[in-house]
Amino acid sequence: MSFSAGDRVRVREMYPPGHVRTPFYVRGKAGIVERVVGEFDNPEELAYGREGDKRILYRVRFAQRDVFPQTPSGSDTIDVEIYEHWLVPEGDGR
């Protein structure tokens, strides 16, 4: 599944053991693809000394209030770079 800038996406809510690059605090949250960063070797495989397959990395923008509900107010956002296998189209469930 590949996405374009502007697409609404949701981060998969999964908690695998091992080395992962998706921060705990954005799992299950919805955001918008801010840009396609590029293709990189999958660091979750490189971490175990294996060759990583190429994965597309996206910069996803979240409303800060969606991520941290205690945020007082305002339009602050959080950008997190997330690999394609952690993202699903928003609306398709998790």
Binding site: P23, Y48, F68
Partner: protein, 108 residues
């Protein structure tokens, strides 16, 4: 059940961040140099230790060690583990060297 690794602490309550500058010590510089060497030395056309592997080893220290160790202590523990995993060092070699250094330190 959601598994949260000890390093993955974004958003958790925490005290103020200490932003004061401090000079690195000699042993910290040596750890940094060892890390650089393990990145530059290639094995089968790739770095002996990739940054992703170093991060994985640091994250695997366990919650108590992760919290108690300093930044470069985490690095040297993780580097030691990876060098043992890769067969560069044996635990026996590490143990002998640590005992030798402890004996030397006691003598000074």
């Amino acid at each position: 059940m959601s598994f949260r690794s000890p390093h993955d602490m974004g958003g958790l309550p925490a005290g103020p961040v200490d932003t004061s500058e401090h000079a690195s010590t000699f042993w910290e510089q040596r750890v940094d140099a060892i890390r650089e060497l393990t990145r530059k030395i290639e094995l089968d056309g790739r770095p002996l230790i990739r940054v992703d592997e170093l991060r994985r080893a640091i994250e695997s220290l366990g919650a108590q060690s992760y919290d108690e160790l300093s930044y470069y202590e985490r690095w040297i523990h993780a580097l030691s583990t990876l060098l043992v995993e890769k067969g560069v060092l044996t635990t026996a070699e590490l143990g002998r060297k640590l005992a030798e250094i402890e004996a030397r330190e006691e003598g000074t």
